[in-house]
Amino acid sequence: MAKAKIIENTIDLNKELAEIASKTTHMGGGAIVLFMGYVKGRVNGNKVYELDYEAYEPYATKTLEEIARKAEEDKEVLEVRVYHRIGNLKPGEPTIYIIVSAKTRKKAFKVAEEVLEQVKHKTPIFKLEKRSNGEYWVIGDGRRIPRKTQA
């Protein structure tokens, strides 16, 4: 069953993947693809100090759940897990995990990539990038707009 959560801390990848492998092996599973996103330390030549993530709850969680559940409707897909972190994250810190197990490696790659795109574009999550040259709102798929005021 799909798992999707907004989280504050990192997850234990060893545990997650071992759990999924032992659960899916008897359903003919043999492939897991994991995508892990993390904070970039440099953007457009500027040093990044941190990314502040905010989720619009409970709708962010609901969106993640729906994306994961729909991806699992494919018969070749055995398990989908989506974890998105919020809070102040420093360069190199994980921000998102997408984990997909499928009957074929091709399917696992394809679904992981699709789920990631949906999570990025549909989930009401927002970020503010704090860099050496100021603060920038990140809009949609990477557009940066300087912050005007301190809210």
Binding site: G37, E54, Y56, P58, Y59, K62, H84, T95, I96, L116, V119, K120, H121, K122, T123, P124, I125, F126, K127, L128, W137, V138, I139, G140, D141, G142, R143, I145, R147, K148, T149, A151
Partner: protein, 84 residues
């Protein structure tokens, strides 16, 4: 009736607040609320001129501007999401 309005991300640069309650006539539609917000924060226009839409959600869902608001609805205004 009253609805709660939440602002996200760079919209807060213009509203200078995270959320507020807005009083509306009982038969108000989403578009009426959006007009009222546009009037209250005229600078928001520079955002849409700049190609950044302010997307409304009502109780977490995309709805038509003709949607009839109910007392206690939560309306969010946000730029394109930026997960990941």
């Amino acid at each position: 009736m009253k609805v709660k309005v939440k602002y996200f991300s760079l919209l807060r640069d213009y509203t200078r607040r995270i959320e507020e309650e807005v009083e509306l006539p009982d038969n108000a539609r989403l578009e009426d609320l959006l007009d009222k917000i546009a009037e209250k924060y005229p600078e928001l226009k520079t955002l849409s001129d700049d190609g950044v839409p302010a997307i409304p959600l009502v109780n977490g869902k995309y709805v038509d501007p003709k949607y009839k608001l109910k007392n206690g609805d939560e309306v969010a205004l946000m730029p394109p999401a930026s997960g990941g």
